[in-house]
């Protein structure tokens, strides 16, 4: 089917409009980061780099940033280990309840985040677990497992078993075979899973808001609090711009990983 030239032009213009809609808010924020005014009135009143130095010297932001990194690393590590173990079990063994595993791991992201959040926080309260970084990591890992699981199981399906059999025939024990054959085969799947899990954790606020408790702040939690305190808005603008710029990183890395994965499996 060939679209008429009129339809093609209309589609192109419409698509351009959608892109403007997607990027306009991000551009507006980028402009505000350099605005000397303390309010968000439009248009900005001038140009300053003052808020950048203030943001960099703010101990709360720095602490929240480290908490986000720690939570992301912790949740990613747990998710990769649990997701890989579950994927290996489902892919390599026949057992009762095998089909339900993929259903259970997908549940935390299929249900609205508020449900996961309230379920975990209710349980922590009922059982008597103190809120903090550990409870944040538990929450994040729970919905990140599915990412590692899906990535690894998709890779295991495509990986031929013959190199593993050859390794065993040549006398390697199963740990050596896993370390030298299976693990390198899953490398890019694990990398892209880790990237996505970390990014999700770093950005998460819906569940975190339930599981963090009053004493621990991640970057999204800091933003959530700070945007409701008018005198902190200029610093929020700076943090927001930095986060927007940082989001280029995972897109670039994901591209690189998928290129490498394509080169390996093709």
């Amino acid at each position: 089917m060939t679209e008429s030239p009129l339809v093609r032009v209309a589609l192109r213009v419409f698509s351009g409009g959608v892109l403007v809609f997607l990027y306009l808010p991000l551009v507006v924020l980028a402009v505000y980061a350099f605005n000397p005014s303390r309010t968000l009135a439009w248009p900005p009143t001038g140009f300053t780099l003052n808020w950048f130095t203030q943001a960099a010297a703010n101990p709360r932001i720095i602490e929240a940033f480290w908490n986000s990194i720690l939570a992301g690393v912790g949740a990613t590590a747990v998710a990769l280990i649990l997701g890989t173990l579950a994927a290996l079990a489902v892919q390599r063994f026949e057992f009762f309840g095998r089909e339900t595993i993929s259903f259970i791991v997908i549940l935390p992201i299929a249900l609205p985040g508020v449900v996961t959040g309230v379920a975990l926080s209710t349980t922590f309260q009922t059982v008597g677990i103190d809120f903090g970084l550990a409870t944040i990591i538990i929450g994040h890992a729970t919905f990140c497992v599915v990412i590692a699981y899906n990535n690894v199981i998709a890779r295991l399906r495509r990986l031929p078993r013959s190199p593993e059999e050859a390794s065993a025939d040549l006398g390697a024990d199963s740990f050596t075979t896993f370390r030298r054959i299976t693990l390198p085969g899953m490398r890019t799947a694990l990398l892209s899973g880790a990237l996505l899990a970390f990014a999700l954790s770093f950005d998460e606020v819906i569940v975190t808001n339930f599981t963090a408790g009053p004493g621990t702040e991640t970057i999204p939690l800091w933003i959530l609090g700070a945007i409701q305190r008018p005198n902190e808005l200029p610093v929020v603008n700076v943090v927001a711009l930095v986060l927007i710029l940082l989001s280029v990183l995972p897109v670039y890395l994901a591209q690189r990983i998928s290129e490498e994965a394509g080169a390996v499996t093709r």
Binding site: M1, S15, W42, V78, V114, T176, I206, Q255
Partner: protein, 298 residues
């Protein structure tokens, strides 16, 4: 340099490996123990405790839940007090509107990407749609707060026309910002779905005399439908559970706000009972979506 292992003295790892090799059930147990404890005991266990809390009584003075004292009070409250019904209706309506808006905005650009744009431009567009997806959720909400608030960008554009913007108090703000937030989740599955349609089918349709519009309606749309439904799972579910966007851009309560407010300050049983609502809605939605074949497009 490592000395070569002598075959007469196998290492502990090798002995363990040999031992495990003969016992696949033990191997399976070792693999599944961690995921089982985490996902079933911790996660499903939490959902079970949440469910129990919905049926537990509260101390009349402190509001503390008294475990294993059974009552249906929480359900009575959410079914009889009007505000809970109003909020449920509002949340579901906005979630449906957001989904329809994202289909209306997402389908044409996905169609352009998949079937009109040159391969080079297509790659650029995929990246251009992906980037906002990775940008921070809260940053995007905050950007809209800046744009919509009094004296913000919207007001400064509308002021010369003598019109006032919606500000940060209208439900329309939630509709706009939620549509913005989840739009990429709609574009990407539709794009993938449209790209999978073989050209031969479209050629066959036109060879059989169908004009563009008819081919679109009779061939493209039915084949793209599962992808649209797949995208709608994201837009609907994410809108249904969001409580931060409504609070920050429209000062209205959604289902999530009732759950959050009650779980932190109010009545835990009400939070627990009310959270069954999005669970039930999503289960029904997913069952319907599965009938449309949407799961293959996820």
């Amino acid at each position: 340099m490592t000395s070569p292992a002598t075959p007469t003295q196998p290492t502990a790892g090798r002995r363990l490996s040999v031992w495990l090799h003969a016992r696949p059930r033990v191997q399976l147990g070792v693999l599944l123990a961690g995921p089982w404890i985490w996902m079933v005991v911790v996660y499903l266990g939490s959902l079970a405790i949440l469910l129990l809390n919905a049926f537990w009584d509260q101390d009349a003075f402190s509001g503390q839940v008294i475990p294993f004292t059974w009552t249906l009070d929480a359900f009575k409250t959410i079914f009889t007090v009007d505000v809970y019904r109003t909020i449920a209706f509002r949340t579901i309506s906005v979630a449906v509107l957001v989904t329809l808006t994202d289909i209306a905005l997402g389908f044409p650009i996905a169609y352009y990407m998949a079937r009109v744009a040159s391969p080079r431009r297509r790659r650029l567009l995929v990246v251009a749609v992906l980037m906002p997806l990775w940008a921070s959720y809260l940053v995007k909400i905050y950007a809209w707060r800046a744009i919509l608030q009094g004296n913000g960008l919207v007001d400064s554009i509308l002021a010369p026309l003598g019109v006032e913007g919606p500000g940060l108090t209208e439900v329309a703000g939630s509709w706009l910002v939620l549509s913005y937030l989840w739009l990429p989740y709609m574009i990407l599955p539709i794009y993938a779905g449209l790209e999978r349609i073989p050209n031969s089918l479209l050629e066959a349709s036109s060879d059989l005399g169908a004009r563009s519009w008819r081919t679109f309606r009779r061939v493209v749309l039915p084949l793209a439908l599962p992808a649209v439904v797949a995208g709608s799972i994201f837009t609907f579910s994410l809108s249904l559970g969001d409580y931060i966007t409504p609070a920050l851009v429209s000062n209205t309560k959604f289902i999530g706000n009732v759950i959050y407010d009650n779980s932190t300050l109010g009545s835990l049983p009400i939070a627990a009972a009310y959270s069954l609502l999005p669970i039930v809605i999503m289960v029904v939605y997913l069952l319907i979506a599965r009938r449309f074949g949407a799961f293959a497009s996820l």
